[in-house]
């Protein structure tokens, strides 16, 4: 993009534009979910307790859905990173953060519509285990797994 050469330039992309992909898939997902089929959507999430508020992820990825929000911790004043609802779950933010061995605060959230009995059993077992170990997995619907 920065070449000084004049004339036609061609971009060869490795993957489809995520926004275009969303536009293509969203109606299909809505149709399937409406018909009672199992649909999995992915969102990324930043754990505000782990995020230190240095915003390296934002400097590295520049994703428009990656923003900041006030720190929930009364002892810390810097705003923490926050993934807003524009996230399409492409995973680039977590990938970048992980590749730079940077950030343990990113997590992937899989939102399952019309979960099967296997999904429910898996989640119940998982939540029970986490609670036993002193965690707070009391939420009945969402599963948070560490980003790849």
């Amino acid at each position: 993009m920065r070449t000084g050469q004049k004339g036609l330039k061609v971009i060869i992309a490795d993957g489809e534009c995520q926004l275009a992909r969303q536009r293509r898939l969203r109606p299909e997902w809505a149709r399937l979910a409406g018909a009672g089929k199992r649909v999995v959507r992915t969102r990324f999430w930043v754990d505000p307790e782990v995020c230190t508020g240095d915003h390296s992820c934002i400097r590295l990825s520049g994703c428009p859905s990656l923003t900041v929000k006030p720190n929930e911790d009364p002892l810390r004043t810097d705003p923490v990173a926050h993934v807003n609802s524009d996230c399409v779950g492409c995973g680039l933010c977590g990938e970048v953060a992980h590749a730079a061995q940077l950030c343990p605060s990113f997590a992937q959230i899989d939102i399952i519509q019309n979960p099967t009995w296997w999904d429910r059993l898996r989640w119940r077992t998982f939540a029970a285990l986490v609670r036993r170990m002193g965690g707070r997995a009391s939420c009945k619907t969402a599963a948070v797994v560490p980003a790849e």
């Binding site: 240095d54 934002i58 990656l66 009364p74 002892l75 810097d78 965690g135």
Partner: protein
């Protein structure tokens, strides 16, 4: 020329916010209301790295010239500084950018602005807190517009489970600056035929912010700082009594630090922390603000140290 002066409206939005749809509704509603309208849409996918703008000129009562062979009004393709009657901005910094460009003037411009913020890349990527002070931005808007209608339309939209562009259309209708009937706006939304119910819900919510000002005109209270843990005894340590020697400014921070360290290890460890902070009180140059910041940093230093040799520590488990 013997025809009424065109009403000039400029709309600024961020890529992906539906500014194009909003401008199309307006264009459609203006014509349906019997006016001649011309729009110049400069869309984009800019998402906070640039702006998208939509410029409309509306000649009241001249709709017939859209269809008949009569001479069409000669209208401008872009806004000229100082010549905008209505400025709509979907975000607070966009509003101030429009002001900087001269599109908002105290003589004639009604500014309808959302005070919601979408942070710029510079604000977000600063190591610490790079966010701009919104009170300054609001003050600029207040001083430069002839009439200012401001509310957090993004929050209104979220509450109505709709989208900000429909809410802005409602606010614009409610402001009464355009000679367009409410039903013409509603019909424009219906004619577009996409997510009609959601958009109509947003339109009514936006309308209510202006016509029933108790809902929307009052600015959303700035998000209060996170709740500080105060009061009571924390794991056997009487916090209030223990805090009296410290300056009042530092009390809130000290109380949450004590709660945190008691949770992390035990009351003795929290007491050790208070002793260490206490060593700085009433020293030369250590005022309240200094003690507050010292208390904040020292609380973290204590938490990172792990088991302190001087404290009969138990391994702590974060309580649920």
């Amino acid at each position: 020329m013997g025809e009424s002066r065109p009403i000039k409206l400029l709309l600024a939005a961020l890529g992906g916010e539906g500014g194009h749809v909003l401008a199309s509704w307006l264009h459609d509603a203006a014509i349906a209301s019997g006016h001649y309208a011309q729009g110049t849409f400069i869309p984009g996918v800019a998402q906070r790295t640039g702006a998208t703008t939509y410029y409309l000129e509306i000649v009241p009562g001249a709709a017939v010239r859209h269809t008949t062979g009569q001479r069409r009004p000669v209208l401008a393709l872009n806004a000229a500084p100082g010549e905008v009657d209505v400025m709509v901005a979907s975000e607070l910094l966009e509003a101030t950018r429009a002001i900087q460009a001269g599109f908002v003037t105290p003589e004639r411009t009604t500014l309808i602005a959302s005070c919601a913020r979408v942070f710029t890349v510079d604000e977000k990527s600063t190591m610490t807190d790079g966010r701009l002070d919104p009170t300054g931005l609001r003050e600029v808007a207040r001083s430069c517009a002839q009439r200012l209608i401001i509310a957090d339309y993004t929050a209104v939209a979220a509450k109505a489970e709709s989208l900000p562009n429909a809410v802005l259309l409602g606010a614009l209708a409610g402001a009464g600056v355009l000679p367009i009937a409410f039903d013409d706006y509603r019909n424009a939304i219906r004619r577009h035929g996409k997510s009609v119910d959601v958009n109509l819900r947003g339109f009514e919510a936006g309308l209510a912010t202006v016509t029933a000002p108790s809902v929307g005109e009052t600015p959303r209270p700035e998000p209060a700082g996170p709740e500080l843990v105060t009061g009571g005894s924390q794991a056997g340590l009487r916090t209030e009594a223990a805090l009296t020697p410290f300056p009042a400014e530092a009390h809130a921070v000290l109380a949450s630090a004590v709660a945190r360290l008691s949770d992390y290890q035990d009351a003795a460890y929290a007491r050790l922390y208070l002793e260490r902070v206490g060593a700085f009180v009433s020293r030369c140059g250590s005022d309240g603000a200094f003690i507050r910041e010292l208390a904040r940093y020292l609380a973290f230093a204590h938490e990172r140290r792990g088991r302190d040799p001087r404290s009969p520590a138990q391994t702590a488990r974060r309580a649920a």
